[in-house]
């Protein structure tokens, strides 16, 4: 993947497929340049056996094809910077994928276009709620679809005008964020 934001899009789709109603996407950068990505959901969860095998490229729930590369690609992106990945999951409760990255490493994949990733996720699953936070020392970008829904009422999130507003809303926040790694 050319951008970390593409890994985020790909792995967060797993939460959508797991039937999660609420999905957290957090990117937290500390003052030492360590980035922690957390994708948390209240979807169907996985058994310990499945969790163990999910980072194996040759494990997938798909029945039409026998390879699943989403989590292994994220793991590779984290480990090549000296970071790591951790998956906590419980059947019926949900799953949390945590990956850490050293943004100072030359092998750190740039974060890229998180605005496109979040709008794509919301368009693809307008019936779910996303909580998005990207924070670094002194700056923050946030989006809560729950808060948007309070304003929108019955108007769905995937209306083009609403998606355009969300895109502008996030882009404006990123303009004040001072660029990403």
């Amino acid at each position: 993947m050319k951008e970390l934001s593409l890994n985020v899009l790909d792995v967060t789709e797993n939460s959508v497929k797991a039937g999660a109603k609420n999905i957290d996407v957090f990117l937290i950068e500390d003052e030492k340049g360590i980035l922690t990505l957390t994708i948390g959901d209240n979807g169907c969860g996985m058994t310990p056996e499945v969790v163990k095998s999910v980072i194996d490229p040759f494990y997938t729930t798909r029945t039409t094809r026998k390879v699943g590369l989403g989590v292994p690609l994220l793991k590779m992106a984290a480990e090549q910077t000296g970071g790591s990945i951790d998956i906590k999951s419980e059947v019926g409760v949900g799953t949390t994928v945590t990956a850490t990255f050293d943004t100072k490493s030359i092998d750190f994949t740039p974060i890229g276009d998180m605005v496109a990733t979040m709008t794509t996720l919301i368009m693809g699953a307008p019936d779910r709620d996303f909580e998005y936070i990207h924070r670094k020392p002194g700056a923050e970008v946030t989006l809560s679809t729950i808060a948007l829904r309070e304003v929108l009422g019955d108007v769905p999130l995937d209306e083009p005008e609403i998606i355009a507003w969300i895109k502008d809303y996030l882009t404006e926040q990123y303009n004040n964020f001072g660029g990403t790694n």
Binding site: T64, M123, D154, W165
Partner: protein, 120 residues
């Protein structure tokens, strides 16, 4: 700054419109967004179609949706176009520029862009 008040104004404008979407007879543009599609560049292709639909003011007649892997990963980004009463058209190895052309010539002009379809 974008404000929630602005969002409320959009909502009020939208309220009556939402119900009249014709999903039965409308056109569906489906973009493959599994790992293979995303890695091959599907995200900007999807964004381009969304932008074209919005620009043309055709969001009542055309929906742009996402799907998983359809099993031809080597041809990603793959885009399928479904039109009522017509056979499905599958476009392969798409880019945002190709998306623009497909939208103008096929979706709006009614002529399939054969050179971007499978087998070409």
């Amino acid at each position: 700054m974008k404000s929630l008040a602005e969002l409320a104004a959009i909502r009020d404008k939208m309220k009556d419109k939402v119900a009249i979407r014709d999903s039965e007879n409308g056109t569906r543009i489906v973009v493959g967004m599994a790992t293979c599609g995303i890695a091959a560049g599907a995200r900007p292709v999807l964004a381009q179609f969304v932008e074209e639909v919005a620009k043309a003011g055709l969001s009542d007649a055309i929906t742009v949706t996402q799907t998983g892997c359809i099993g031809i990963c080597q041809y990603e980004p793959v885009v399928e176009v479904f039109e009522a009463g017509k056979e499905k058209v599958t476009y392969v190895k798409m880019t945002p520029d190709k998306a623009k052309r497909v939208f103008a010539e096929h979706i709006q002009g009614g002529k399939v862009v054969a050179e971007y379809t499978m087998g070409n």
